[in-house]
């Protein structure tokens, strides 16, 4: 069972949300990684048939997803927006899903799905009384009740505590190992790292990288690290730093120094030693490009 995305773009007026994305997803867990606003949700919505692509095609097993309700027999979606019928119990909610799918034994399917996400013991409480993690698991159960081959999840770990997160990761991992095609989006590198071997990285609507996570991660870690440094004598510190092999360049500015270091570890070990030797006090040391956006933008430039 494959999810095929071919030359897909989506624009809103003049704004391009998704720009010429092509990818093929097969069984296993794939992470869709990218900073906020990269177009992940737009792409997921198009995959789920909730949005028409402006250009290109999206198919599940050869069938288009747009304007084709029959595709939902093979497809499940857990959207980011936490919209649930809070007046229903988890059991009712999942049972309704099973019935709407026209399953032959909806009650058994609902029980099985709730067992899978380990919600059986709370299934008779109203959804409105659940924690965020429990609600999320209930929504996953509803999306899984018809045992779809493809499951799409939009930011499934948002707002979960570490324990709930582990639980959800374990569940997705099991589903992926069982041969289902799982795609989840996230803007947090570590989530993707823990869960999936393959990633699709989106930046500003484009597919920036695609493939094995370790390879992409290496690309990300080999980039020069940028630090903002302030000290009692910036100019003298700059001279001393330039003697260091781990330093690629130093800019002297009003706000202090901007240091580009080739190796994170040896630079951070060297700096205090140099400062001590020169008798300079370092007031501030800030890694300035650690935000995910800069990691991604580096990846795009690479």
């Amino acid at each position: 069972m494959t999810l095929e995305v071919t030359g897909v773009s989506r624009w809103y007026g003049n704004v391009v949300a998704v720009n010429d994305v092509t990818m093929t997803l097969g069984p296993g867990v794939t992470g869709l990684l990218g900073p906020n606003g990269a177009g992940k949700t737009t792409l997921l919505h198009m995959m789920a048939g909730f949005l028409a692509p402006s250009r290109g095609t999206l198919t599940v097993d050869g069938e288009p997803t747009w304007r084709n309700p029959a595709v939902y027999r093979k497809l499940g979606l857990v959207s980011e927006r936490e919209s649930v019928h809070s007046y229903l119990t988890a059991h009712e909610f999942v049972l309704v899903s099973a019935k709407l799918h026209g399953l032959t034994d909806p009650a058994a399917a609902a029980t099985r799905a709730l067992d899978l996400v380990e919600m059986a013991e709370f299934q008779d409480r109203r959804i409105g009384t659940y924690s965020k993690g429990m609600r999320q698991r209930t929504r996953v159960a509803a999306a899984l009740v018809h045992e779809p081959d493809v499951l799409l999840l939009d930011e499934p770990f948002n707002g979960m505590d570490p324990r709930q997160r582990m639980h959800m990761m374990d569940l997705l991992h099991r589903l992926g190992t069982a041969g289902r095609t799982i795609l989840f989006s996230s803007h947090i590198l570590e989530e993707v790292e823990q869960l999936s071997g393959t990633v699709q990285v989106m930046v500003s609507g484009r597919l920036a990288a695609s493939g094995d996570f370790r390879t992409i991660r290496r690309l990300m870690t080999n980039r020069p690290h940028v630090f903002a440094v302030q000290s009692t004598d910036d100019r003298r510190l700059a001279v001393a730093l330039m003697h260091q092999p781990s330093v690629n360049g130093v800019d002297l500015g009003r706000e202090g120094l901007t240091v580009r270091a080739g190796d994170y570890g040896s630079f951070t070990r060297a700096l205090p030693r140099i400062a001590l030797k020169e008798g300079i006090r370092v007031r501030r040391l800030l890694p300035s490009d650690e935000s995910l956006e800069s990691v991604f933008s580096y990846l795009v430039e690479a």
Binding site: A38, K40, T42, L77, E80, G102
Partner: protein, 236 residues
């Protein structure tokens, strides 16, 4: 009852806006009770209560609350995605929801209309009014369900339509009467009750034909709109 109808009913009765359905019918009955027990002739009060309060206000407002509640509220809070992500032909979502809207609207209108009709002249008028208001419920509900899919602000748009088109223009400008749900409902109630307390302004044939055309038109529109419904979320 279909699962879509069941969940729609649960959703409708579970929301607080459902309580909004109560005041208008109670007010209408209350307003009719006063002249009735004061001994005022029905010729003087029946027309304003039935037309101005009933057909011009209660029926469209109740239909607006319910009609935008069965689908518009789910679009608003995003729960619509749960129903949309099922292998159901889109008419199998629209039709049950519309039927729930019609049933709830018709029931909320039938009670006060029957009581006021019976107070004014007797059961015959009461039944005629129930027939007319049910036709109105079908028409208004279909329009407002379709409106929930056309606009992101169906309640506002619906209010403008009810006040400007149905309330103002169709009473002032005679030409717009042929395109007024209120006039169709009134004419059909008039015909069904054969009462001299009601005066339809369009012919019975026009009322029947236009009712069918409007209902089918907006139903088809609603189904088509839902078939190509785009979910807009916070894109991230």
């Amino acid at each position: 009852m279909s699962t879509v109808a069941w969940i729609t009913t649960r959703g409708l009765l579970g929301r607080r806006r459902f309580l909004l359905l109560l005041p208008l019918p109670i007010l209408m009955i209350g307003v009719a009770l006063i002249p009735r027990f004061e001994g005022v002739s029905p010729q003087e009060w029946a027309q304003p209560v039935l037309v101005a309060m009933g057909f011009t206000t209660l029926l469209p407002i109740v239909a607006l609350i319910v009609g935008t509640g069965v689908l518009g509220a789910e679009i608003d809070d995003g729960t619509i995605t749960h129903i949309l992500s099922k292998p159901l032909a889109r008419w199998r979502i629209v039709v049950p929801k519309l039927l729930v809207a019609i049933a709830v609207t018709a029931a909320s209108a039938a009670v006060p209309f029957y009581i006021v009709g019976a107070l004014a002249s007797g059961p015959r008028l009461g039944i005629g009014l129930v027939v007319g208001s049910t036709v109105g419920a079908v028409l208004y509900s279909t329009i407002f369900v379709a409106l929930s899919l056309i606009s992101r602000r169906p309640v506002l748009l619906g209010l403008v339509y009810v006040i400007i088109w149905e309330g103002l223009l169709s009473n002032l400008v005679s030409g717009t009467r042929v395109l007024s749900v209120q006039q169709y409902a009134l004419t059909i109630a008039d015909k069904a009750s054969a009462s001299d307390l009601l005066n339809g302004n369009v012919s019975f044939a026009v009322a029947v034909v236009m009712s069918i055309v409007v209902t089918i038109g907006f139903l088809v529109l609603a189904i088509r709109k839902l078939s190509s419904f785009s979910v807009t979320g916070e894109t991230s």
